[in-house]
């Protein structure tokens, strides 16, 4: 038999003015199960709490109901108070007779009756409350950052700075990401590599950071504080520990027809290569698709010239398993494939380029050595047309169009226009825009400079068609403000292609059980209040993988993600929320419907052997909830037809008892 104590708070006159608190306490005394009831001016005051604590001790209470303000105000206070005298805090229930009773009703009779009903419901629930204890799990003090672009590097540096070990997994042979490919950055026009390469060096030299370059995450299991991650280290055919990055092999390699990814295929590189001069780690990699030794078994030049003996043609992919307390996704973005937008003739003419390709063409370390030459005939373009919003802000996804704004195109186009004008003032530049979006510090000023100072022709309207003809590109477009159709004979067309999430992100999200939106951007745990956390506990988001961003925003988010990781790793143990779902294995049929609705991936299935009533054994698939991952929403409890899933603290029987009491 339960022994419940009921404590009715006056809250000064806040409650007592519209609720006859003594009548509520008196009514409580007649409720079966209630052994003690009283009222007091301020239950939350020290003396009020003493009152509760004394009663718990004196009457050996098994449950406490406090009729007071909203549980959102003082549930914690009272739970702490009863816990202090040895009662499990989850045996306490609050009847909200202030916000939801005395403050919303004027008539004292009505208020009192409702308060009594609320009190009875709370007693009914308290009678069924069972003591709950939050589980504790230890935290592995090591973080994993997936992606070694500016976001990943910044996150790793910040975490390492706090003294925790961090691993970076980067699928390319070097870290650096997209930023390393950029020429200048807006709106300051400072050199991108001058900013990013020192960061790369810093990452490479930090003893808390370990870089797994040329590697991929292939499996993730576990949960917050205790992830187990399998990392595939792709065969590099060069021993990282021996290679000094001298580059002799790349000079000698006879196979020089591999497209250079770093320059987006605008020129070629050798089969053994270092992506660029400042690569970190500065280690050569053999491209197995092009290496003559690996493909035909003849050559072996690199091995001969390598003084360090680092070349190993027998290298194979290796998988390692590492444990982490937290994982940061920093998978960044890619440029959308615009070949489906055939009206812009991207696949018909080499002189139609994406803006990232243009970036390389402008770059001093690029294929043209920084001189702007158009790819087809290596002549300097005189007329350049920039087309905005290619693939962005599209409703129709059949061509791979994106419904979102890619955010950075307006600014980098202004940058391209200005840089081009800076170097070659006689170039005619047309920018066809739909809207120019420049929110950001010094952004609009930057754009206006392109228009006012550099005389870039900004035309409100779009390009309808680009036709390559006699070495020229005939651009047919509209000028909506002049209400006319234009034809421009251009030498080059630069497409501001939409940016899209890294193609590996969806697979990664599945492994992490992190959710994604329909565009494959990672979803944040709360769009306003938890922008750098994924809904899956222990998984954090850094940079563009969460949505389009420019560099400063990316760095800011990277730092924020790092601080969340540091907060997590600083704990020795994680105390969970005890109000989580649990499955009754005797009843579970293993139908998997609960896992389908769980937004956190907290439910897994195991084959378990059961002893039946007739003493035979039977192996059944049953659901198990990981209490460290479950957040307690209860979606699974309703989807479970057999009622095997229930929620601690809000169990089926508790809620039904409340319903019963309130309908009485």
């Amino acid at each position: 038999m339960q022994k419940i104590g009921v404590f009715v708070c006056h809250c000064g006159t806040n409650i007592a003015a519209t609720v006859d608190v003594e009548a509520v306490a008196e009514a409580a005394r007649h409720v079966p199960g209630v052994v003690y009831a009283t009222d007091y001016t301020y239950m939350c005051s020290q003396s009020g709490q003493d009152l509760i604590q004394d009663a718990v001790k004196k009457y050996g209470l098994t449950g406490v109901v406090v009729c007071s303000c909203s549980p959102r105000m003082h549930e914690k206070t009272f739970r702490k108070a009863v816990n202090a005298v040895g009662m499990n805090p989850y045996l306490l229930e609050i009847a909200n007779i202030r916000e939801q009773c005395s403050w919303v009703h004027k008539d004292k009779e009505i208020g009192t009756q409702k308060a009594i009903a609320l009190m009875k419901a709370a007693v009914a629930k308290a009678e069924l409350d069972s003591p709950l204890t939050a589980g504790e799990t230890p935290v592995v003090k090591r973080a994993l950052v997936i992606g070694g672009g500016i976001a990943g590097m910044q996150t790793a540096l910040d975490i390492a700075d706090a003294g925790y070990d961090v691993d970076i997994v980067e699928k390319n042979p070097t870290i650096g990401g997209k930023m390393a490919q950029l020429d200048k950055t807006f709106p300051t026009l400072d050199c991108s590599s001058c900013i990013v390469t020192p960061k790369m060096v810093e990452v490479g030299q930090n003893e808390k950071i370990h870089i797994y370059s040329y590697s991929e995450v292939t499996n993730v299991s576990g949960f917050v504080g205790n992830f187990k991650v399998t990392i595939k280290r792709k065969a590099r055919y060069v021993d990282e520990t021996k290679c000094t990055g001298c580059g002799l092999c790349t000079e000698k390699c006879p196979m020089k027809k591999a497209p250079n990814e770093f320059n987006l295929g605008l020129n070629n590189r050798t089969a053994v290569y270092i992506p660029f001069a400042q690569a970190v780690p500065k280690v050569a990699t053999i491209d197995p698709n092009y290496c003559l030794m690996l493909n035909k078994g003849v050559c072996g030049l690199c091995s001969k010239v390598c003084g360090a003996g680092a070349i190993n043609y027998k290298d194979t992919d290796k998988e390692i398993e590492v444990e982490y307390g937290a994982i940061v996704a920093a998978t960044g973005y890619e440029i959308m494939d615009v070949s489906k937008y055939d009206e812009y003739a991207y696949s018909q003419s080499p002189d139609v380029v994406t803006s990232l390709e243009y970036e390389r063409l402008m770059n001093a370390a690029g294929p043209t050595g920084g001189e702007l030459l158009r790819p087809s005939d290596h002549k300097r373009p005189k007329t350049i047309v920039f087309v905005q919003c290619v693939g962005s802000r599209e409703c129709d996804s059949t061509r791979g169009g994106k419904p979102y704004c890619s955010k950075i195109c307006c600014m980098y186009t202004a940058k391209h226009a200005m840089l081009t004008k800076d170097h070659y003032p006689d170039t005619d530049i047309y920018v066809f825009y739909i809207d120019v979006r420049t929110p950001g510090k010094n952004f609009d000023e930057f754009y206006r400079r392109a228009v006012e100072q550099y005389g870039v022709h900004y035309i409100k309207g779009a390009v309808g068609k680009v036709t390559p003809e006699n070495g020229k590109l005939i651009v047919q477009a509209s000028d909506l403000l002049m209400n006319e159709q234009l034809t421009i004979n251009a030498d080059m067309v630069v497409l501001a292609a939409a940016i899209e999430p890294s193609h590996s992100a969806r697979h990664l999200a599945t492994m992490l059980t992190a959710s994604m939106d329909t565009n494959d951007w990672f979803t944040e745990a709360h769009p306003k209040l938890r922008p750098v956390e994924s809904p899956t506990a222990g998984v954090f988001l850094s940079g563009v993988c969460q949505g389009p961003k420019d560099i400063p925003e990316t760095v800011a988010q990277a730092g924020a993600a790092a601080s969340k990781v540091i907060g997590l790793l600083s704990k020795d143990k994680l105390a969970g929320n005890p109000c989580v779902a649990h499955s009754d294995e005797m009843m579970c049929t293993g139908c998997s419907q609960c896992a389908d609705v769980c937004p956190y991936g907290a439910i897994t299935y195991v084959d378990k052997e059961f002893r039946m009533r007739d003493r035979t054994t039977k192996v059944r698939r049953v659901a198990q909830v990981n209490p460290a991952v479950c957040q307690g929403c209860g979606a699974c409890t309703v989807t479970c037809p057999s009622g095997a899933m229930d929620l601690n603290g809000f169990s089926n029987s508790e809620i039904m008892a409340e319903v019963d009491a309130l309908c009485r």
Partner: protein, 351 residues
Amino acid sequence: MITRISADRLPELLKQISELEKLYIPVDKSDKVSVFEEYEPGKVMSTKLNTLRSAKDFFFPQVQPMAKFRMEGKKIEVIDPRTEAEDYCIFGVRACDVRSFDVLDRVFLADPVDTYYENRRKHATVVSFACSEPSETCFCHSFGIDAARPAGDARMWMTEDTIYLEGISGKGKALLEKLDLAALSAVTDEKAERDVQEEVRRVHEIQKKMPLYSLTPADNREKELEIFHSPIWKELSDKCLGCGSCTFVCPTCQCFDIEDFDGGHGVERYRCWDSCMYKDFTMMAAGTPRKTQLERFRQRFMHKLVYYPIRNEGMYSCVGCGRCLRRCPIHMNIVKVMKAMEEDAQCETKN
């Protein structure tokens, strides 16, 4: 003494009875559904072979309130819901269901008497209704029941144009006497007797053509343990879904559970049908005595064909109404069990 009345006067006859006491007749609610209902003028009596549910509902309803506990704060008051029933008449009960009352009586009226049952039983006058068109699922004759000459307090035959009435027990005769049969142009004569004899003969002839005519239950009272341990149960019970339809449509199944319902202001204690086919039947803290479907399945049929006869001078607690033959979702019915028992017994003797 058999009285004959023109068949088109049946509504008047029913009306007369209903004016004397509450009257229940089988009514067709649709092609598929016939049920016993309180008579009201205009209601037509069903001539279907059987109602969906058996007539045991009258004495042993699916839910029988037993006591109420009213709670006011911490005070509890016990209320006995029993009141003496009024006299009533059940009209048109088939021979098989009439026999089922005997089967139930031996359970509920044996010491200690079940007062809830007794109250309903003793106030009822049962007017039975002879079968004129038995079906292939009928096997009441296997248990010595004469479908053409049913028992009861009074009985009725119906041919195309005439109904015949005969009082059997004092209660039945008294009821017939109270009726104004003259107003129905009733005739009590030799012809009535002859007609009935002819009708009974006709029905018996039909029965001989039925596939189950030769079905005769063995007297298994000596072989309790043998049958209990027979291998037939496994094979038969493997197919059983354990649903309990057979028990609920069965006129003689009498298992029940007692449950409490907390309505918020008090608790209602009621008795409701239960099925020995259910895995939570007689569930106790330590589990149930019959843990597998085999044991539960065996229990039902052993009870009908072995245990009950042992305790009741060879009387079977199956009346051959055929409801389970029709309603079992997978047709795993008592006839199949009887036949399997027989085959098993023959094998045993051969060996």
